[in-house]
Symmetry: C2
Subunit: 202 residues, 2 copies
């Protein structure tokens, strides 16, 4: 019996996925979390074999949680990322953080069970289309500060507002934004922010 932990911020999604996975004879969801917070303790406490983590969660995201699990258990506990958006940067960061699998919620249900068994057996379960896209996208060319100002730009903030948010002068922010616009091959900060987000670079 493969013991599973599920982390997803949406109540109904967790409950539904738990119901689905519990239908399999060899799978059992032994714990659920609404966030990445406390994932290491929960895995230890419930003797979890495979942790299934969403990425976008309020406090601790799935990639950070993956790092925590990797540091605490090595490959003794397998991590499978299950996310809404199959963004290249997400896949890269997830695998770098120590995940053994990466799936999108748009995949067929049978693929989820198969992926769980694969990572439990020490294998890797990543959709080949996503892997190819990740390779062609390449790693993020953005510096830390470029990423900071783009994150702030996501809300449609003005240069002045972004400057206040990251505690830099407006001129410095414009320089970082201009550089990020060039790297994302866009024409303004909103477009740059969105492109970076879609590529999973934010």
């Amino acid at each position: 019996m493969i013991r599973l932990l599920l982390a997803d911020d949406q109540h109904l999604i967790r409950a539904g996925l738990a119901a689905l996975l519990n239908l399999e004879e060899d799978l059992e969801v032994v714990h659920q979390l609404p966030d990445g917070t406390g994932v290491v303790d929960a895995v230890r406490e419930h003797g979890v074999d495979v942790a299934i983590l969403d990425i976008e969660m309020p406090q601790v995201d799935g990639i950070t949680a993956t790092q925590h699990l990797s540091e605490a258990f090595g490959t003794e506990v397998a991590v499978l990322i299950l996310t809404t958006f199959g963004r290249a940067g997400y896949l890269q960061r997830a695998m770098t953080a120590g995940a053994q699998g990466f799936m999108v919620k748009d995949a067929p249900a049978e693929q989820l069970a198969a992926a769980i068994r694969t990572v439990h057996d020490g294998g890797t379960a990543v959709d080949s289309t996503l892997a190819a896209e990740a390779l062609s996208t390449g790693t993020s060319p953005l510096t830390d500060r470029e990423r900071d100002v783009l994150k702030a730009a996501l809300t449609g903030a003005s240069v002045k507002d972004i400057a206040a948010a990251v505690h830099l002068s407006a001129g410095t922010v414009r320089n970082h934004l201009s550089s990020a616009i060039g790297k994302t091959q866009t024409s303004n900060r909103s477009e740059a922010a969105r492109t970076a987000q879609l590529k999973g670079w934010l």
Copy 2:
């Protein structure tokens, strides 16, 4: 036995929700759709009592599908909207379109089953917090053209790009954008587009 139809674009979410709902003795998911397309035929063909619809779907969204069902069946078939974002405008448009229920995916699992029974019995199932927010937000003050240019602005497009997309002159687009910025009490088109989206006005 209450016969259910589920429409959601994500495979795993549909499968999980189906598994969850089928655990209830009096509920049975008799059909699933990945989109609002063909929902009327599917409801007729499978003798569906309650249709559970996501809003954001590729071809036909859940609100449009609700209108189609309301036109075809009146209150003979109940509609329960189940969405990721509890946006005020979504709730307003859903109820106006003829939905009997509105829930977010963040709700507890028991609430979903209870809501299904409520709408099946002819009642209304709307979270009171969402209802209050919808009332305080008010209906969208945006004109059709303002909405059009804001939708185009969501991608971070320049005025020139937006003008090309909606087939108007750049000056006209700037006027519509300026008006929309005023109505959303923001300071630029990206912020206006995002605010309108969050309120469910787009």
